[in-house]
């Protein structure tokens, strides 16, 4: 029980720490950030429910005013900004990533990459691009065009997430809660 709580909290910290890796501003004010890698890892390591809760916990602290998003941004304003779709999609992306991770029998590495591509890219982009479309008052197709700028980076992150998950499966099998 305690273990669930602390794993959720520590992975929320991990997302925050990944935000300190310098960001690149791009595509209409939505940054390229290593934090989406954190979202993927929450799913692949913690599994669906705990992964989503870790992301929610992180978002609660951001909303409460801590500058934990990349570039030291935070507060309620980020939920009114161009990233809002991505932020709303974060916990859902982690959940889907974890859900797939829990159900496939692929090796942890392959499963981690595949789940990250589907959850951490596919699902996340649906929300992120819809958000962009609403904020920019543009058709989805045009927003999607902007969103594609993130694709190369995010594919790299999904591969990394798979590799990290594979290593963890080898080094701390008991801690890979998604496969416990």
């Amino acid at each position: 029980m305690e273990r669930n709580l602390t794993h959720i909290a520590l992975f929320a910290s991990l997302i925050a720490v990944l935000g300190l890796i310098p960001r690149i501003d791009l595509a209409a004010g939505v940054p390229i950030t290593a934090q989406s890698l954190g979202i993927m890892l929450c799913g692949t390591v913690l599994g669906a429910r705990r992964g989503a809760l870790a992301v929610l916990l992180f978002l609660v602290l951001v909303a409460a005013g801590l500058p934990l998003l990349s570039g030291g941004r935070g507060g309620l304003a980020v939920f009114a900004g161009p990233s809002v779709g991505f932020l709303v999609g974060f916990p859902i992306a982690a959940f889907v990533t974890g859900w797939i991770m829990e159900r496939t029998t692929l090796t942890p590495g392959l499963a981690g990459t595949a789940a990250s591509v589907i959850g951490g890219i596919g699902v996340l982009y649906v929300f992120g691009i819809s958000g962009l479309a609403v904020v920019l008052d543009k058709p989805l197709a045009e927003a999607a065009f902007l969103g594609m700028a993130f694709l190369p980076g995010d594919i790299l992150k999904a591969v990394l997430a798979g590799m990290v998950t594979q290593s963890l499966a080898r080094m701390r099998p008991a801690s890979l809660l998604s496969r416990a």
Partner: protein, 253 residues
């Protein structure tokens, strides 16, 4: 049989040694080491000092892991912060906490890593690592996950990893803390047999009686510098004096 891993390591006497020239280190805006000047050429050097006096920071500075805010650091003539390649051959460091040092899941990978970084092909590095393990009667460790080793065993692995790279100087940060008495005795014996220059941090002055030179750090400055016969009595007396005082005056930051 002598306990030497590096039969062909260079003789420390031929090296120019470690020199610091008014080196100052600032961490998060705080001066942690204050214009330290030192020239270390001895084979066995000890560093003493209270918690927070700057011992680990000094070791990190010498190892080139942090840069001085001002002043100069040279190891055998090399700038350890900028010339990483040359520093790897000149100097190895054993971290205080093995958990801060170990990077890889298995013993074999951990040992081979440093060799690959020094330019050996992976296959050769792994072979060297396996040979070193076999030499120590620990061939069966090769595939063992590091996480199942005890604290003392992990500590020992870190030391092996450093020795395998054959640096001319080894920096040891409290190498015996938390180890049991037999392991301590054995490691002390192994250290004594090493041909390299050793710089050792400790809280136990007794383990340094046979050193060539002791440096006592206090609040980021050198409080004393000399042979053990001179530094140890002064250090011990001062520590006892402080220990006898009321705790409260001091633990308050």
């Amino acid at each position: 049989m002598p306990d030497r891993t590096q039969p062909d390591a260079p003789d420390p006497a031929h090296q120019t040694g470690i020199t610091l020239d008014a080196a100052t280190v600032t961490l998060s805006g705080r001066v942690v080491l204050d214009r330290i000047s030192l020239s270390l050429t001895e084979a066995r050097i000890g560093i003493l000092g209270r918690n927070g006096s700057g011992k680990t920071t000094l070791l990190r500075l010498i190892a080139g892991l942090i840069a001085p805010a001002s002043g100069k650091v040279r190891i055998d003539g090399i700038d350890p912060f900028t010339d990483r390649k040359a520093t790897l051959a000149a100097l190895g460091i054993l971290f205080q906490n093995p958990d801060h040092q170990i990077l890889f899941p298995t013993v074999e990978e951990e040992l081979a890593f440093g060799l690959v970084q020094q330019g050996q092909p992976q296959a050769q590095a792994t072979a060297t690592a396996l040979r070193a393990l076999a030499d120590q009667g620990r061939a069966h460790w090769a595939k063992v996950p590091v996480s199942t080793l005890s604290q003392g065993q992990r500590h020992y692995l870190c030391l092996l990893a450093v020795l395998l790279m054959q640096p001319r100087t080894i920096l040891l940060d409290e190498p015996l803390a938390g180890l049991d008495l037999p392991t301590r005795t054995r490691l002390a014996r192994r250290f004594a047999a090493l041909p390299q220059r050793l710089v050792t941090i400790t809280h136990d002055p007794e383990t340094l009686v046979s050193a060539d030179r002791l440096i006592w750090l206090d609040g980021g400055r050198i409080a004393a510098d000399g042979p053990p016969a001179q530094v140890i009595p002064a250090f011990t007396a001062e520590m006892e004096r402080i220990g006898a005082r009321d705790a409260d005056a001091d633990l308050t930051s």
